[in-house]
């Protein structure tokens, strides 16, 4: 079972760290520049922001990683039965296929999908934190 329930107690700290990494590296930055656009961005502004968010999600000096590249590296296989992992797989697959040269409607859809990825990373991490706390309390009792 590749889920929270399948984790041994000694695996909890590393699991939480891994999910926090995903939440920070992928979740925070996948919608980063789109959030900073004004209320009514032009199609070009949205395009540039999305390209940066999806193709250059993580930029450190000259190192650049796309959203799907990051996920491929950080994906928690040991939790692949958790719903958010499958959700993020699907969302990123759709995003990778998005033509970022398309029109406003497609770009807006992509922006929404990117936000959903961010939310999924947060939910996954938060549920893991709550689950570990609950398990710890049960163990103490």
């Amino acid at each position: 079972m590749q889920s929270f329930a399948g984790l041994a107690t000694e695996q909890w700290p590393d699991a939480l760290e891994a999910l926090a990494d995903i939440r920070h590296d992928l979740g925070k930055y996948i919608g980063f520049e789109v959030r900073f656009l004004g209320p009514d961005p032009s199609v070009e502004e949205l395009r540039m922001a999305l390209k940066s968010d999806l193709l250059g999600t993580r930029k450190r000096g000259t190192e650049v990683e796309s959203a799907w590249g990051l996920w491929a590296r950080l994906r928690p296989d040991f939790l692949r039965d958790e719903p958010e992992v499958g959700e993020i797989d699907t969302l990123l697959e759709a995003l990778e296929k998005t033509d970022l040269e398309s029109g406003m409607e497609e770009l807006q859809t992509a922006a929404v999908l990117a936000t959903q990825v961010a939310h999924a990373t947060r939910r996954l991490h938060k549920r893991a934190v709550v689950w570990v706390e609950q398990q710890s309390n049960c163990t103490t009792e």
Binding site: D14, K28, F36, S52, R60
Partner: protein, 547 residues
């Protein structure tokens, strides 16, 4: 415009901040503590705000809080919490620098965060849902709060803990009835502080009245302070209210309190004891309720010991509430910030505005869009030129001269020097129809950039009467005497001789250091020594003056 440092292993935050708030100067990103420290050092610690990420995915050797014995798990944790380690390191040298920690809620870092939550200058920025408006709002809010404690009108407090403590102490003693003594050398802003900080913070509804006792003729001081009735003394033709009555319900500032003679000291003591004044030549008591602020650049306690000031009056003046302002030379690290402050104030002055407009017209710029604007750049320029905007650049050498000067006249001298530097630079440029002198480096060819030349500032810092403040145990005074039949050449040589002497003493006889100060280059030590000899100066005679 603020100087903001971003410490983040990612470059995107900095890029975005530059785009969203281009009016500020964004430094970084510094990807680790060492880089951050280097940037701050190069900025002369002149950073207004730090944006600090928490999570740093950087090589182990750049992480704080780990060593070669650390386990993989410890290293991973250190990466996740690196921001807190950097914050702790930063706080050791900059306890009051505002830092915004960029962190999401419930990341499992609550314990580490709680340690810093109570810190006065640490802010938490929830960055997962951050957008342009909320980032700007938070950054501006912090900068506003900081500016609020950095200055009070024309007073620049700066960022040092020492000055902040002084300000806080003044705010405390401003309330209440008791007098306040302001000490410190001349030109440190005592009257400004009385007017723009103590009086407003006293919350008294009456006026602020200032009397400089050094400028009132001694035989008129009593009448000036306590009032008089017609005929009380020769020349007194009408009843007159004194400063105490004028300041009733408000604040009375008496500058140079050490100038009072014995009789006036006694009268002042009586007023403070009774809470009432009797005008000269009168018998009627008039109640007065005054917040008294006195200032002196002498040591009142010393004067009491030497019986030049009454001990009972001194005690009435509430010596426990004495606040002593430091000389400007003890605030060298803030010179750059002070230059900015002075420029901000000057740029609103009409004469400077007119000079800016005149310069712009002289180089062919139109003023159709309105009056020209002066901005300041220290060390480096704003990236692009803008129509109607003149950048006044204070290069490193100029700033160094300002930092090295002893400022015997303190802030007053400083403000005058900066004002002169600005107006002369503008005037020179107008006369030439272009930026003065040959401009090298990034400002070459830029007509919107005027460099405040080091030579101009050096000349301003040398006055015809060269007098060095005696500062306690090891001072000496130089003086230039100019006789009517002295030739200009003789005077010039005398000035140069005095200047080189001062330079020699200031740099402890180190010709390389003198060369750096004079020529910006230590390689010219031989040239400096040659000129030294040509002026007839003898090293063996001056060695005794080095402290």
């Amino acid at each position: 415009m603020a100087e903001i440092l971003v410490i983040d292993d990612q470059t995107r935050t900095t890029e975005l901040c530059r785009r969203v708030m281009p009016e500020h100067t964004w430094h970084g990103p510094a990807q680790c503590w060492e880089e951050a420290r280097e940037i701050m050092r190069s900025q002369g610690q002149d950073v207004d705000l730090v944006l600090l990420d928490i999570h740093f995915d950087i090589p182990d050797n750049l992480l704080l809080g780990v060593d070669e014995k650390s386990s993989e798990s410890e290293v991973r944790q250190a990466r996740r919490r690196q921001g807190f380690e950097i914050l702790a390191a930063l706080r050791r040298s900059q306890p009051d620098l505002p830092v915004m920690l960029m962190t999401a809620r419930d990341l499992g870092l609550e314990k580490a965060a709680d340690r810093h939550r109570a810190e006065e200058y640490t802010y938490f920025l929830q960055d997962e849902d951050l957008d342009a408006a909320s980032l700007r709002s938070q950054v501006e809010g912090i900068l506003r709060a900081r500016r609020g404690t950095e200055r009070d009108g024309p007073i620049y407090w700066g960022r040092s803990m020492g000055m902040r403590r002084i300000r806080q102490r003044l705010i405390t003693v401003a309330r209440g009835r008791l007098p306040v003594i302001l000490g410190g050398p001349t030109g440190t802003g005592k009257s400004l502080i009385a007017r723009h900080l103590v009086h407003p913070r006293s919350r008294r509804k009456g006026k602020f009245v200032a009397v400089d006792l050094a400028t009132v003729p001694p035989h008129l001081i009593a009448a000036h302070l306590f009032g008089s009735v017609r005929g009380a003394y020769t020349g007194s033709v009408a009843d007159r209210r004194g400063a105490f009555e004028e300041a009733n319900g408000g604040t009375l500032f008496l500058d140079e309190i050490g100038n009072l003679d014995e009789s006036v000291q006694k009268m002042l003591l009586t007023v403070l004891q009774e809470g009432a004044v009797v005008r000269l030549g009168d018998t009627k008591e008039r109640n007065v309720d005054v917040k008294l602020v006195v200032a002196t650049n002498e040591n009142l306690e010393e004067m009491v010991r030497k019986k030049r000031f009454r001990a009972d009056l001194y005690m009435r003046l509430n010596p426990a509430a004495t606040v002593v302002l430091p000389p400007l030379r003890e605030r060298r690290m803030e010179i750059e910030a002070l230059v900015r402050f002075a420029l901000e104030r000057l740029s609103g002055e009409q004469v400077v505005q007119e000079l800016v407009n005149e310069y712009l017209v002289s180089v062919g710029e139109s003023l159709d869009a309105g009056a020209g604007r002066l901005t300041i750049a220290t060390r480096k320029l704003l990236a692009d030129s803008k129509p109607g905007v003149v950048q006044l650049l204070f290069p490193d050498r100029t700033l160094r001269l300002l930092r090295q000067h002893r400022w015997p006249g303190n802030l007053r001298e400083f403000m005058m020097t900066v004002e002169n530097a600005v107006t002369l630079t503008l005037a020179e440029a107008i006369g030439a129809g272009q930026p003065p002198g040959s401009q090298k480096g990034p400002s070459a060819g830029r007509i919107d950039v005027l460099q405040v030349r080091p030579k101009l500032v050096r000349d301003l810092l040398l006055s015809v009467r060269l007098e060095e403040e005696i500062d306690g145990d090891a001072g000496w005074t130089t003086e230039l005497r100019v006789r009517a039949n002295d030739s200009l050449n003789k005077v010039a040589v005398d000035v140069e001789r005095q200047y080189f002497t001062q330079l020699y003493v200031q740099h402890n006889g180190d010709f390389e250091a003198m060369s750096k100060a004079l020529l910006g280059d230590g390689e010219g030590a031989r040239k400096v020594q040659l000129r030294f000899n040509q002026l007839g100066l003898k090293v063996r005679e001056l060695k005794g003056r080095i402290r």
